[in-house]
């Protein structure tokens, strides 16, 4: 089962490179996404057997992040069909500078997209320190060509920054893994073994290892001040890729940090690691707030919002207690909401032909469905009731108050308020009013159904939390437990 989950996207990804027929390849993409989602759903019913001597195990945390990845990939795959048809085989005019450019071959795009899914699946399954690292690195390499889908100098710049900054980050995480090996001595580098024999870990090297891994995976996760690749990569890649990067990839790096935190907490270094996480979390939120206010590019706006939410996740884990549960729930909420917003942003970009916030007006009239989703997405992502993120952000606030950290709670609330005002001013101005340039349009269903489904899920999570999901979140929170 575990092996099938991995092999299906990997093998079909390989096939997609070779298929000569574009429509067939698109059908294959959706079919693979459906199969992957089906298999993931099956894992909820019956947890699959461990593989490769305990190196590949689907534990609660893995299942949670696998489910997020699989859901988003399905939405992205359906959306991609119409997107690829529209972008197919013709030279496009650049929205910002007006020059002409062509796209990467569709075979490369779909092939890399499926390999990207395989790499992310491997991240969620890996229980071995080294294997997890290899998987995270593989996600970088598989996604770099995806960012360079539009062949022009800005996307090339974004790809180069992404490759270089993330490779350096990942290299530091590798050094952290070596430090962890030194700290572990003769203990095998499998996470459950490390937790079980945490008493034997060398404290000094363990601290150094955590710091390096946090900086390494934090780069990939987009924690400030290591986030510099993120706005560029998110704004220059196609909407499908932005959605997956923000909703699925950042979570994969977060999972790496969670695993490391698991070992740290067991080794009695919880206070040390948690204070680092709280620090990175608040800095990320502050940096994001500074760049969100007055942002002129709406895709960059969403990208900075991802930096903010990654900060919230780190903060939740760092606060401990109920904050861990809140952070896990928030990971789900943020992924669904942000992926939905990036897909809608793709529709707006398609209709208006610009990424500038000033040039978009009257989205509610021009794109009736996408416009409504845009406003709903704004409310959801800024943590307004009745959407899911409200619940999770509130849980994290409660954790801060429970822990008696009034300063953290006040900073958190103040930053959330600034970001709410910053995002609302920009995004509402885009939705309201009348556009003089663009006539109202009929939208194709593949462009609106995936984001609408994600929006419905976010709304549902705000009103009703299914028992099974709560149970899974509690199990995951327990892994990071209050040792």
């Amino acid at each position: 089962m575990v092996l099938i989950l991995l092999l299906i996207p990997a093998v079909i990804g390989g096939i997609a490179f070779l298929l000569p027929n574009d429509p067939l390849r698109r059908a294959l993409l959706v079919a693979t996404a459906l199969t992957h989602a089906g298999l993931t759903a099956a894992c909820w019913v019956r947890s699959p057997a461990p593989m490769a001597g305990g190196w590949l195990v689907l534990d609660p945390a893995g299942l949670l992040f696998l489910s997020i990845t699989s859901t988003l990939f399905l939405a992205a795959a359906v959306y991609a069909v119409a997107y690829l048809r529209r972008e197919h085989d013709h030279v496009t005019r650049d929205a910002v500078e007006g020059f002409l450019f062509s796209n990467a071959p569709e075979a490369t795009f779909t092939g890399c997209l499926l390999l990207f899914l395989a790499a992310m699946t491997l991240v969620t399954l890996s229980q071995h320190v080294g294997l997890l690292w290899v998987a995270v690195e593989a996600t970088t390499l598989a996604s770099a060509p995806l960012i360079y889908f539009h062949r022009h100098h800005r996307s090339l710049e974004a790809t180069w920054k992404y490759l270089l900054i993330c490779s350096v980050g990942i290299a530091l995480a590798l050094l952290g893994n070596f430090f962890l090996a030194v700290a572990a001595g003769s203990t095998p580098l499998v996470f459950c073994e490390l937790v079980a024999r945490s008493g034997q870990l060398n404290v000094l090297w363990m601290k150094a290892a955590f710091l390096l891994v946090l900086v390494g995976y934090g780069t990939k996760m987009g924690l400030a001040p290591l986030h510099t690749w993120l706005p560029d990569a998110h704004s220059e890649s196609p909407p499908v890729i932005s959605a997956l990067l923000s909703g699925a990839l950042l979570n994969c790096a977060f999972l790496g940090i969670i695993r490391m935190q698991q070992v740290c907490a067991a080794a009695g270094l919880g206070d040390f690691s948690r204070s680092l996480l709280v620090g990175f979390g608040l800095i990320s939120m502050a940096v994001a707030a500074a760049f969100i206010v007055g942002q002129t590019d709406f895709k960059r706006l969403l990208a900075y919002s991802s930096v903010e939410h990654m900060g919230i996740l780190a903060l939740g884990i760092g606060l401990g207690g109920a904050g861990v549960f809140g952070a896990m729930l928030h990971a789900v909420n943020h992924s669904l909401t942000k992926a939905m917003l990036f897909l809608v942003a793709g529709n707006i970009l398609g209709a208006y032909g610009t990424k500038s916030t000033a040039d978009v007006q009257g989205a509610l009239r021009v794109l009736p469905v996408s416009g409504v989703l845009w406003v709903a997405g704004l409310l959801a992502i800024t943590g307004s009731p009745p959407f899911g993120p409200f619940l999770s952000e509130f849980t994290i606030l409660k954790a801060a108050l429970d822990a008696g950290r009034i300063g953290v709670a006040i900073t958190y609330l103040a930053l959330l308020a600034v970001i709410f005002i910053g995002m609302a001013t920009i995004m509402l101005r885009m939705a309201q009013g009348v556009s003089l340039r663009i006539a109202p349009q009929r939208e194709s269903w593949t462009a609106v159904v995936p984001p609408a489904a994600l929006a419905a899920a976010v709304l549902l999570l705000g009103i009703y939390l299914p028992g099974q999901l709560t149970h899974l979140l509690q199990q995951t929170a327990h892994l990071l437990g209050n040792h």
């Binding site: 970088t140 770099a144 062949r151 710049e157 180069w160 490779s167 893994n177 030194v182 001595g185 060398n202």
Partner: protein, 212 residues
């Protein structure tokens, strides 16, 4: 003893890189460093030389000593770039920074004694020094190709640490490392070709339109 000589050579190579101005010469020096590290792996495991140790050592030496340099030299020649670095930080200032980094690495290595092998602090210091030099080269040089070189030097530092110290860890991990370094540099190599085609030169300095 031989081990120490190799480590000192690695440090000298790092310092030479900081003062270098010609790219092609630097590529060759980094290649030499890769081969030295292969030798280091063999010497470290001298008592128990299994097949996998040989594979890691020889594989690493071939990749870093032959394949990467060939790839990078090709990328360099395919572009009309001037064959010099055009650094943000000049050679003398770079060397001074290198000396400071060396001091810092030695100090850090003192603070982090290895539990299993307390005498190997030179190895830790050399590994940290290579990593710092690699990071410095990435930041302080304009050309994209020199950033790849910096990345390689940094990886060499990490490899020094891994090959020398993590004896208990399964070699499979080290294989994964080799594989990933290979693929990372390969993908970066492809990106370099695209950059040289798009801009007619591989100057990362030009990659600066995206900002807030």
């Amino acid at each position: 003893m031989t081990l120490d000589i190799i480590l000192i050579l690695v440090v000298l190579i790092d310092l030479r890189l900081l003062g270098a101005s010609r790219i092609e010469a630097s590529i060759r020096i980094v290649a030499l460093q890769g081969i030295l590290l292969g030798l280091l792996t063999v010497l470290e495991h001298y008592g128990d030389l299994t097949v996998s140790v040989w594979l890691v050592a020889v594989g690493g030496a071939v990749l870093k000593g032959v394949v990467f340099p060939w790839l990078l030299v090709r990328a360099l020649r395919s572009s009309d770039a001037k064959r010099e670095f055009e650094p943000f930080v000049g050679p003398i200032a770079s060397l001074l920074a290198g000396v400071a980094a060396l001091g810092m690495s030695l100090w850090l290595a003192q603070r982090l004694p290895l539990p299993q092998a307390p005498h190997a602090s030179l190895l830790v210091a050399v590994a940290l020094f290579s990593i710092l030099v690699g990071l410095f080269l990435i930041i302080a040089r304009k050309k994209a190709i020199s950033q790849v070189l910096g990345f390689l030097v940094m990886e060499n530092g990490i490899y020094t640490f891994g090959a020398g110290l993590v004896r208990q860890s399964p070699l499979l991990v080290e294989f994964g490392v080799m594989l990933d370094v290979f693929v990372a540099v390969f993908v970066m190599g492809i990106a370099l070709f695209h950059i040289s085609r798009e801009f007619d030169h591989i100057n990362a300095h030009e990659l600066a339109t995206l900002k807030d």
